[in-house]
Every structure is written in C-alpha cells, then in structure tokens.
Symmetry: C2
Subunit: 331 residues, 2 copies
C-alpha cells in the first residue's frame, strides 16, 4: 500500500490563521478506477484566496470542509494512469490540494510542457495567478498606452504580472509593496516605473508623486487604506479591477471613505474570480507562456521545503513575508 | 428696458447650505444679437447635483462661479427670437438658471410639445431626472425580468422613474424613502412592490424582508448607511448604478464597510453623469414621453412659488422635505 502525507483543515481560524488550524495526516492510495490518474505532486501553490475558503461564510465558493485535504493548485508527474489521455511520466497541473500525492479524474488535469517554461511557473506566471493578472488588466482595466496603472502587492505572483503586462502595453506601471527590498525588485528587475513602500509612512504623498498624471486603472489585491488612498488619485472614467482584499482576510475592517470619487470621477469597479472566465484561459495562458519562454515576463518564487512547512509558509504569505510566488516543494 | 430677477451664488456653503449663500439681483435684458433667443422661464428645476457644483472642488464640471446666476434647468416660452429655428410663443427647455428670464444661443434650447405632456414634466420624468433614471437602469443595471432592483430616494424625481421602469421590465422594485407618507405613495400610487422607511429604525431587517431573493441591482441616490446596508444583500454579479450621494453633499463622512462583498459577490459599480451620454437621450426621452402621455409613468411635484422661494426650496430638497420633483414656478 502506497501512503503519503496530507494536510487537512483542523479548525476555522478566529482572526489570524494559526499552524494549529491544520493537521498533518497519513493517507493511503486506493487502487485506481477506470478514468482515474495518480499524481505525485512536485509543487503546491499557496494563494491568498485559500484564506477566504477557510471561513464558513457565503462567498463565491463553498467553504473548505473541516477534516478534508486543504484545497490548492499543484503541479506534478503522473505515477499511474487509467485514463486514456495520460501516461506515467506526464507533467500535469491539477488541484490536488495540500498533499504529496493524489488521485483524480483525468478531466481535472491539464498536461503541461516543462521544456521552455519551468514546471513551477504553471502555478504562477503561467497559471492561475498570471491568468488573474491578465484577466483583470485586459478585461476590466483595459488600459490604453500612456495611461497609469497602479497595482498593490506588486512583487507578488499576481501583481508582478499586472505591472509587466501594463508596461508591455505602453502604460506607466506603478507598484505598491511592503519594504525597500521588494520595491527595489519591482522597479529594477520587473521594470515598473515606480514602486511605493506602504510601510514607509508617506503613502498619500508617495502615491501622488508616483502618479503625476493621476491613476487610470487600479488592480487591487490588498484593500483598506492602500486602496482608499489610491481612489483619491483616480482620473475620470478610471477602472478598478477588484481581485483581492488581503488586508481584511482576518476580519479587519475593510472600509473605504473615498466613495464620492466614484461619482465625481465616474469610476467603474468590478470584483472578479478568474475561474469563472475559463473561456479566456487559452488566450491568456498563451500570451503568458510565450512571454515567460521568451524571457520577457519575469517572476520570483519563495519556496518552502516539504509539506509540513506549508502552514507556516501560508501564514507568512498572508503577512507579506513571502517574496514573489509562494510555493511548497514536495519532492 | 426689460428687467428680471435672478439669484446668484453669494458664497460657498460651509456644511449645510444657507439661504444667505444666494443673493437676489435685478438684471436687464440686453438687445438680442443674431442667433440669440429671449426666453421667459415658467419653471426652474431644483436638483441635488447643484449642491456639488457649489463646492470649489475637482469634479465632473467646473464649479458654479460666485456672483453668477445659479445654474439650473428651465422650461419656458420664447419672447423674442433672432434665431431662425425659434419664434415667439415656442415652448422650450433650456439651462437658463435661477432666473425669471434669460438670453441664450438657440443651440442651447430644445423645443418641446406641451400638448400631451405637461410643460413641467420636461424638467422631471421626461427631462434630465427621467433620463438619469433611464440611463442608470437600462445601461448599467440592465435588469432581467424577475430580478430585484432597489432604489433610494424612491419618491424623488429620479427614484420614482427608476422603480416604475423596473416594474415595466418585469422586475421586483423596492424603494427606500423617508417617512410613512412617502413610502405609501411609492407603493400605492407608483406601484413599487415594497418601500422601506429609512427613518423607521429597522433598516437592515426591513431591507432583508423586502428583498427575499436578495438584490440584483442598486440605483443609488443617497449613499452612506443606506447604501452600505443594501450592499450586504447583493446577489452574485449584482450591478450598482451610482447616481448620487445626497447624504454626503454637506461633507458628512461617506464610507462603506461592505467592500468585501464586491469581491465575494463579483459586483460591478459605475458612477455616471447623464449629460455625458447625450447620444441616448432621444431613445430614452422617447420612451419616457410615451409613458407619461399614456398615463403609465406617474410623477409628483413639489412646487415653490416665485424665484425668491428657490433657496428655501433647494435647502428643503437637500433635507428630503420635498415630495417628488422639486420645481419653482416663475410666472
């Protein structure tokens, strides 16, 4: 009997997530049925959306069940297949969760080519986070060359792609990140025009200085004061893609006071979930894959080692301790 | 020499508008130049947007100048014309401001037919307020039959049209208004399915009871707590047409706390100014005029008598003391 480790949700967090909200268990692989595939996961993706799923509240998806394997995107290698489209050795993307191995229907997998794009990138710039950036930027903000786009959590898996795609479209890209090191990376390595350190204590003045022509598009990942301060700089007919509100995921107040600007500046805002726009993934992932393979879209990863490290890595992600895409290496 | 009375802005309000912010003056009609038209105004329209124009802040339009005639929509009769398209006796809509008479270019006028639609309605249900309702409902909320649409300031010039148009499109129309008398009018005479008295002290519970299937569209005229409370009832993919924020026009805080719902429910919101969508006015006013002429779109007016009554009538409008469209009768 093959066994593997998995992490289940032990309890729902009260405020900040604790390592004790998860429990490591040993599971056994059952014999495959027809149509099923056994995958050994190489990398697990940790993403902010998981925090919302841990709550038992009405949202766009059912809450994560207590005692079940935590949900999550994975890349790995097929170990055994009873599905005609997959064979042992295939590299695949799936949603096998916080686990070293997993069995799933072939329908839930996507074969990927790790020749020109590193396997882990299919969880980042060429995966759900990259697609999130692509969708919000191209379908909601839809910036014209010369416009100014601001993105929070700019060094992260989503934000880093937003700014680079905006630059490729001829925009002024301005990031917001926490700390001088992340800001230097966003400007020097990712090529943003400017990046504001929200921890430096001069948020409003720094945003104003970095956006001399105002803001035409906001890609919002954080919410709270950062979002509210950006709203005050919006130009007429500005667009806001609301992707995440990580500053409020532990229950902090998530108020905005610059509501008047929505009216006086005729702003539009839309919240979105990229998994609801699957029809655009081939187009978006095609562009992103080409850019990564061609060295025109850069990314950085924080890699935790081994499944047992996932809870602390996830807690760090929610506190902004990661630098770039947060992964867990499983083999 | 023909003289007339006009009201100019004497000072910018500090908080609530005072009657002393306006000054009554006597003006003289200059001889007409070629292309000009002299109009005697029968009615002046008082509208919430004027409050925002009184502030010297960046907005969608230049601020009202101190010492100049207050801006405002008017209907009246041509007294004398040096424009080939207008003749004495024509009934016209214009923007001649808070004044008994005015001279303008013919381009700034629109001839209207008062045979089937009362002249004053061209300042209300078949004018800018009606068009505002039509645009926000049909172009932003775009409700399907069976959906629930909520509108604040429901007995007012805009809100009353929003709900009636929503009913004609097969929606559940729910109003919010101040006081039992207005709420009874909204349901019994305008035909809304329900109307909530925000002064009754049970706002959240009353909104919940009136929207058993949640809310699909909000037409927002008020802002503040009323808006925030409605946000908590939104269904997935709900749409918000942000038309006004009258509860904050004197500088009151205008915060919303239910920002998370924009994300979890994938809401979209757009602020708009109907004068920026002039290309749709013929279509919208055509529908509205037909409905009023056919008795299918009802409205109510509060009419102040004489130009000198305009400041107090305007102050009352901002405080919700009017009942239906606020006009000033000038002849």
């Amino acid at each position: 009997m093959t066994t593997y480790q998995r992490l289940v949700l032990a309890s729902r967090p009260q405020g900040a997530v604790l390592a004790t909200d998860f429990r490591l268990e040993t599971a056994t692989v059952a014999p495959l049925k027809d149509g099923q595939v056994l995958v050994r996961n190489h990398f697990l993706s940790l993403d902010p959306y998981m925090r919302m799923r841990m709550e038992d509240v009405k949202s766009y998806a059912a809450p994560q069940a207590i005692g079940e394997t935590m949900i999550g995107g994975t890349v790995g290698e097929v170990v055994e297949s009873k599905h005609p489209k997959y064979a042992a050795g295939d590299t695949v993307v799936g949603m096998l969760g916080w686990a070293e191995m997993g069995v799933c229907d072939g329908m839930q997998l996507r074969r990927v080519d790790a020749t020109h794009v590193p396997l882990s990138a299919y969880l980042g710039a060429v995966g759900m986070p990259g697609m999130t950036a692509w969708y919000g930027l191209t379908q909601i903000i839809a910036p014209k060359a010369g416009e100014t786009v601001v993105v929070s959590a700019a060094s992260g898996a989503v934000g880093s792609v937003v700014g680079q795609l905006a630059k490729l479209r001829g925009c002024r890209a301005v990031g917001i990140a926490g700390g001088a090191e992340k800001c230097a990376y966003v400007v020097d390595e990712l090529g943003f025009d400017a990046c504001i350190d929200y921890k430096a204590g001069n948020l409003a003045a720094d945003i104003k200085a970095a956006t001399p022509d105002g803001i035409d598009g906001i890609f919002e990942n954080v919410g709270g004061t950062i979002f509210d301060t950006c709203l005050a700089r919006m130009n007429p007919f500005g667009r806001i893609a609301l992707c995440g509100l990580i500053s409020g995921y532990d229950g902090e107040p998530m108020t905005i006071s610059n509501v008047r600007n929505f009216l006086t500046m005729r702003l539009s805002m839309r919240g979105f979930i990229v998994s609801e726009h699957i029809e655009l993934w081939p187009q978006g992932l095609g562009e992103l894959g080409g850019l990564v393979a061609g060295g025109k879209l850069k990314f950085r990863e924080s890699v935790a080692q081994g499944l047992a490290a996932a809870p602390e890595a996830f807690i760090g992600l929610l506190k902004g301790r990661n630098f770039g895409k947060q992964l867990v290496k499983l083999v």
